[in-house]
């Protein structure tokens, strides 16, 4: 549902006539206006349609969630594989680096790094992205999130490396890259999928948190975190302004977590057998 929303979002203005940036509330009424037939969820503090912003916000959340997780996966898998396969000094070095990253409180570090890039809109590289301020967020989250993945991949590799099929491949003279890519990685894929699915939820939450603190997506982008901050002042009088994005975050993160659990259950052969 959420993914469909995000993908269809660009069609929204054309289809229902609402642009998430347009001030649609009547110019004579102080926003936020309550839910009505034209604006199902009412309007936000600037009189913009809340539902359109919510749907558009799904794109930002998905963008950050997926891309940050992809980056983390890429780095984590590469380093974990190298450590697990090579062992010895390489392993020791990479794992100490991983410990180092894990030892940092990631949210604070992310906050500090993002705050150090005050103007993503004019920073080279980021400038070319569609939403520069969101770009910083997924890059930083991705670069901080790889450590636990690296650990997992290493552990899997240590286990798989000793198994017969891997030993056989090595004995037959396959070189390192081939062993890793053809034999070890595919077998380590299952736990990775689970971790990635859970990671997307985690990163969406993180993005919302950063935006809530004002360092994530910049206005006028409709990030859910930003929307909560904007609605905060009206919490008692007009609760829908911040409850709507809050619920959206809750549902989506819950959804990804349940998905992760489901995949985990499905892939867990031992458990399936027990159930059967």
């Amino acid at each position: 549902m959420f993914v469909v929303c995000a993908l269809l979002a660009p069609l929204l203005p054309a289809s229902i006539g609402y642009d998430p940036y347009a001030q649609v509330a009547p110019r004579s009424v102080s926003p936020p206006t309550p839910p009505s037939r034209d604006n199902w969820l009412g309007t936000d503090t600037l009189g913009r349609d809340l539902l359109s912003r919510l749907v558009f916000g799904a794109r930002i959340s998905l963008e950050v969630g997926v891309l940050a997780t992809a980056i983390a996966l890429l780095i984590g898998t590469a380093l974990g594989a190298a450590a697990g396969y090579a062992g010895g000094r390489t392993d020791a070095f990479l794992m100490r680096a991983t410990d180092l990253v894990l030892a940092f409180p990631a949210p604070l570090l992310a906050l500090a790094i993002i705050a150090a890039v005050p103007e993503p809109e004019t920073t080279p590289l980021l400038r070319s992205l569609p939403h520069p301020s969101v770009g910083v967020v997924f890059l930083v989250l991705g670069c901080l999130g790889w450590a636990s993945i690296a650990r997992l991949v290493r552990a899997e590799f240590l286990r798989l490396r000793e198994q017969d099929f891997a030993q056989a491949a090595q004995a037959m003279g396959a070189h390192g890259a081939r062993v890793v890519l053809r034999h070890l990685l595919p077998n380590a894929l299952r736990p990775l999928i689970v971790v990635a699915t859970l990671g997307i939820g985690g990163n969406i939450l993180m993005e919302a948190w950063l935006s809530f603190l004002g360092v994530g997506a910049r206005p006028p982008l409709p990030s859910w975190g930003t929307m909560i901050t904007e609605g905060q002042e009206y919490f008692l009088a007009k609760p829908w302004v911040c409850l709507a994005p809050g619920l959206a975050i809750l549902l989506v993160v819950l959804g990804f977590n349940l998905l992760g659990d489901a995949i985990s259950d499905r892939l867990d052969t031992r458990r399936r057998q027990r159930v059967a």
Binding site: E119, G214, Q232, A237
Partner: protein, 552 residues
């Protein structure tokens, strides 16, 4: 006086985290006030809220409304400004004469004025306090107030041991001689910075006075619990008679929602913020207790005239002005607080020009000026950064301006940072223009004179960090503002200010002229003697307040 209004505030999460401790502190506080044994007469306590701790309690260093709120109740200067009528009234001096050439001011001190430590105030104390303000080591941001006194500069520079124009012929007389006539001089002496201080306290190298100030005002300083409260106690020996209040408690509560809840719960007797007018539930509870009144201040978006794209491009600045719908902003989006501005000098100040056309919202004109500026439909204009300090109100204003400018094709990037980072980016240094291309700012006048806004914000002598953050320099404007200072005829002065304002507004479009402030404050009905001052909600003459609760 510089203000961050809508004020600087903590990031959201921290704000949310504040709610709980504030509520707890409130309960503890109530418990402790209730627990006191009550004498025959109920103790008169007045509790009001401040957003944060005052940055300083040293009168010489004070440069903001929070510090002044405390200082003006603890201290007195030679003269004071009546916060209600804006008249200059006798304080430590009970009378004064001004020479016919407007250069020599002779003050006669009142009998029976004592410091809180019991010592009588003499002319020596006045001289000491004024010299302290001028001294280089004091590093006062408001040293310039005494600049008109003859020999002030030499004294600050250290080339002279005495201030030539400052004399104390006897214990009860102070004579100040100015280098040249300066119309607002007496007004300047009413400011918190010119308070009379006891030397034995303020010469302390340990600077204990920073946490335990001593003055001769109606309240002596009680306690200061950082980030929690400041307590002031009635001074029995006050020359104007002991205040009706026994105690005044200033409570630091950052978040508006928590402060409102605290007010409703009875932990505050007054609150400088009122609920959103659309919040019917809240208005039903406290609507009757809302007091609204205009006060002397102007809000604006400054352009940095030293940075592209605004440098040398008045057409662009006019385009921005026409694009922003100030009427919608203040009458619909954020209603009840402010009046849309047509210029710089707020209503009520001599020189305010209600017929100045200003820049009413006009999209067509905005587009045509944008094209004239060299950016038809915004083409070729890179995103422009608008800086604000953290806070919901600021975010809303900035977002609305962003939306308005988007309609004519201009992209605005909002930079929301904490107050310290904001001020650094906006003020830059004398040689470095700072980073902020545009910034939201507000200014409350320190005394009712157009000079108190035109000079600090736009005169080229205050270029850069001194206050002219936009780095505006127009010799014609400077000359008019300077000339007005030497003129004593009020009509002629007002006319000179009107001409200066017209240049800055209509010719140079130095800012986006946003709003004239209107204050709204909550007072419980049992608080009597309330003064709604055009000088701002924090000009609270506590000595006039009293509590009259019904029997209960």
């Amino acid at each position: 006086m510089r203000t961050s209004e809508p004020r600087a505030s903590l990031p959201g999460l921290a704000r949310a985290a504040l709610l709980l401790p504030v509520a707890l502190a409130g309960m503890a506080f109530l418990a402790c006030t209730r627990g006191r044994p009550s004498p025959e007469r109920a103790e008169q306590v007045f509790r009001f809220r401040m957003h944060e701790d005052p940055p300083t309690l040293d009168p010489a260093l004070s440069n903001d409304q929070f510090s002044e709120a405390v200082i003006l109740n603890v201290h007195r200067g030679l003269v004071e400004l009546d916060p209600e009528t804006l008249e200059i009234r006798p304080a430590v001096a009970d009378s004064w004469t001004i020479s016919p050439d407007n250069r020599v001011y002779t003050f006669h001190l009142r009998d029976g004025v004592r410091f809180h430590n019991g010592r009588p105030v003499t002319s020596q104390d006045v001289a000491y306090s004024l010299r302290r303000l001028l001294k280089k080591e004091t590093r006062s941001p408001r040293r310039f107030l005494l600049e008109p006194i003859e020999g002030a500069q030499e004294f600050t520079d250290g080339t002279s041991d005495a201030v030539r124009g400052l004399a104390t012929p006897n214990d009860r007389t102070v004579v100040l001689r100015l280098a040249r006539p300066f119309a607002p001089f007496l007004s300047e002496l009413t400011m918190a910075n010119a308070a009379v201080l006891p030397r034995e306290v303020y010469d302390d190298p340990q600077k204990a006075y920073l946490r335990a100030p001593v003055g001769c005002g109606p309240f002596r300083f009680g306690r200061w619990e950082q980030s929690n409260f400041i307590e002031l106690l009635a001074f029995d020996g006050y020359y104007g008679g002991r205040p009706a209040l026994d105690r005044a408690v200033i409570r630091m509560i950052e978040n508006k929602t928590s402060a409102l809840q605290e007010y409703i719960a009875g932990g505050l007797d007054s609150l400088d913020e009122t609920p959103d007018e659309n919040d019917t539930a809240m208005m039903a509870k406290v609507g009757q207790e809302v007091h609204k009144y205009p006060f002397m201040g102007t809000g604006y978006i400054g352009f940095n005239l030293s940075l592209p794209p605004f440098k040398g491009n008045a057409a662009l600045r006019k385009a921005f002005n026409y694009a922003v719908d100030k009427k919608y902003l203040w009458e619909v989006l954020i209603p009840g607080g402010n009046i849309p501005a047509n210029g710089i000098i707020p209503p009520g100040i001599p020189g305010h020009d209600k017929d100045l056309p200003g820049y009413p919202h006009d999209e067509a004109k905005a587009r045509s000026f944008l094209a004239q500026a060299g950016y038809p439909a915004g083409k070729g204009l890179p995103p422009v950064a608008l800086w604000v300090n953290t806070g919901e109100g600021n975010r809303q204003i900035a977002s609305q301006i962003q939306t308005d400018l988007k309609t004519i094709g201009v992209t605005i990037v909002i930079r929301e940072v904490d107050w310290a980072a904001y001020i650094a980016a906006v003020s830059g240094t004398k040689d470095n223009a700072g980073q902020a291309q545009m910034f939201r700012f507000g200014w409350y006048l320190d005394y009712p004179d157009a000079d108190a806004i035109l000079r600090p914000l736009l005169h080229s002598s205050n270029w850069g960090p001194a206050g002219n953050f936009g780095r505006y320099k127009n010799p014609e404007f400077d000359a008019l503002v300077d000339k007005a200072l030497a003129v004593t005829d009020p009509k002629e002065r007002a006319e000179l200010y009107r001409r200066a304002e017209t240049i800055a507004v209509m010719d140079d479009a130095v800012w986006i002229f946003l709003n004239y402030y209107q204050a709204s404050t909550l007072y419980k009905p049992y608080v009597k003697g309330v003064v709604l001052s055009p000088l701002g909600e924090f000009r609270l003459p506590l000595e006039r307040l009293r509590i009259e609760r019904g029997t209960h």
